[in-house]
């Protein structure tokens, strides 16, 4: 163990190095901001999820109470989590969110990979345009794109009109307000997040690897499976996390496109908070969602930091 005096002098010595004070400030500002506005709020959510709900402002009981003999009492309750397990509504919404997010991610991988592969293999003069056409929806308002989807999917919308004009169907198919509409909405909204990382991985690949595989007698599909696919896996993983994690907590898409048949956990949280004004239960829903996402989010964190370190 180092003595306090020694570590103090070590701190002083470090601060006297050129630029040390600047470095400390440069670190302290974003560190403090994120601790205050990202970490602390999450801890408050956990705390309130363990409080009892009451009518009032704010609508929950304090956890710490000062009793008469100057003792501090701690009140924790797990009743909010008990409610989540007892009431079928929450369990169904929870499982349904995971299912919808997982299936949407899988479909996005298939579509996104094919598109990214097509862009990476297309001639240079096309590639620029094709990439830009992926980036434009990425920058266009999310809400407006969901709104466009309503006009696309509804009974007298584009899909039904085209299919009826072609004579494929003679009555409009009901897509809006079904789980199918939610799947389509999620894939539509998050597809650029899948295409871009996969494209980036494919573009970094050294083309001579494929030539080598070909020279050694590998058939194109075999070269794809054994060279291209493994090398592009980081892009697939990054894209999948970028689609899956936000899709689990999605609110706007199930709210505007889905019906009552496809409850999702983000919608439940919203209703608990804004309609029922039950903050502790809303917080418990948030904690349950975080518990589900903690592994994917940590995977994403490790992945991102390794990726940026690798380049530096």
């Amino acid at each position: 163990m180092r003595s306090p005096a020694k570590s103090f002098s070590a701190v002083v010595r470090r601060l006297n190095q050129p630029g040390a004070a600047g470095r400390l400030t440069a670190l302290a500002i974003p560190y403090g901001w994120l601790a205050l506005f990202f970490l602390l709020p999450l801890l408050i959510v956990v705390k309130i999820s363990l409080s009892e709900s009451v009518m009032g402002i704010p609508p929950y009981e304090p956890i710490l109470r000062f009793a008469e003999d100057a003792k501090v009492q701690i009140h924790l309750t797990f009743s909010n989590f008990g409610l989540l397990l007892r009431d079928n509504l929450y369990v169904v919404a929870y499982l349904n969110s995971v299912k919808i997010a997982a299936i949407s991610t899988l479909i996005s991988v298939v579509i996104g990979y094919s598109m990214a592969y097509g862009i990476a293999r297309s001639p240079l003069r096309w590639r620029y345009l094709l990439l830009m056409l992926i980036i434009i929806p990425f920058w266009t308002s999310f809400l407006i794109r969901i709104y466009a989807m309503i006009g696309f999917l509804k009974d007298n919308g584009l899909i039904n009109n085209v299919l009826m004009a072609l004579g494929v169907i003679d009555q409009p198919i009901a897509i809006m307000y079904t789980p199918t509409a939610v799947y389509i909405g999620i894939i539509y909204s998050y597809l650029p997040f899948m295409v871009l990382p996969i494209y980036a991985a494919l573009e970094r690949m050294d083309p001579s690897l494929l030539e080598a595989a070909g020279d050694l007698g590998a058939k194109p599909w075999k070269a794809f499976l054994r060279v291209t696919l493994p090398l592009s896996m980081p892009g697939v993983v990054a894209g999948s996390l970028l689609v899956f994690i936000p899709a689990v907590g999605e609110f706007v898409i199930p709210e505007l496109l889905g019906g009552l048949g496809s409850p999702m956990i983000g919608k439940v949280l919203w209703a608990e908070f804004f309609s029922n004004r039950d903050w502790p239960v809303a917080s418990a829903v948030a904690v349950a969602m975080l518990a589900l996402l903690v592994v994917p989010v940590m995977m994403f964190d490790r992945f991102a930091s390794r990726y940026f370190r690798g380049r530096s």
């Binding site: 630029g19 600047g22 470095r23 500002i29 974003p30 560190y31 994120l34 601790a35 506005f37 990202f38 709020p41 309130i48 094919s114 598109m115 592969y117 097509g118 293999r121 297309s122 094709l130 830009m132 980036i135 434009i136 920058w139 266009t140 308002s141 999310f142 809400l143 407006i144 794109r145 709104y147 466009a148 309503i150 006009g151 696309f152 509804k154 007298n156 584009l158 573009e203 690949m205 083309p207 494929l210 970028l242 994690i245 936000p246 907590g249 609110f251 706007v252 505007l256 983000g266 917080s283 948030a286 969602m289 975080l290 940590m298 994403f300 964190d301 991102a304 940026f308 380049r311 530096s312």
Partner: protein, 265 residues
Amino acid sequence: MNGRLPWFAISMLVLGYLFLYSPILSLIFYSFNESRLVTVWGGFSTKWYGALMQNDALLSGAWLSVQIAFLTACVAVVLGTLAAFALIRFGNFRGRTLFAGMVTAPLVMPEVITGLSLLLLFVAMEAVLGGPGRGMMTIVIAHATFATAYVTVVVQSRLGQLDMSLEEAAMDLGARPFKVVRVIILPLIWPAMLAGWLLAFTLSFDDLVIATFTSGPGAKTLPMEVFSSVRMGVSPQINALATIFIVVVTTMVVIANQVAFRRRA
């Protein structure tokens, strides 16, 4: 990667772009529709654009959103650039893992959780400190927090590509660290900072969920106005608004790419 494109890839590209663009194109098409019914063609008209200009709720929402997005982008660029510096240049300082986690986690955190948690923080702060009152400033704080993560990613990847020997040379020649930052590093990373600023602006301008949680009475942003009007049903005015939005975004993306392309060439 070059060579002939397999037919499968070509057809997937065509289908993929059809999927991405046909809803947007039909939305633009029907914004010029005379008829109130969004899917029945009643002749060419720009009357919905005129009606949009008279819609005070949407216009004041748009103005509020522009102000919030501007402030958010400025705060996020400062915080994000500092965070990127710390992550790339400060080596393995104590607490780096937590810091790196706090920087990247907001990128993927579901919006409902970010929104709820920040609102609960603001309520607690009001109880303890008496402020800040909920409204424009709380939305800016909330937006800046998640936008910082995006700016950090953009600036970090640019900083990572920089040749450190430039900085070392300047230091060897006796430049103080602050001068190195100002004369060498900032001129090299400003395009990334600009890109981060634009990204932060767009993300903030676009956000519905976090703004709804952290807003107070009277502060209704453009997405909040659009959301309540879309909930009532489809309206040609929203088509007109969406068209303006798409045209602006497309122009900006094309210009930004042209600039980036020239610089590289």
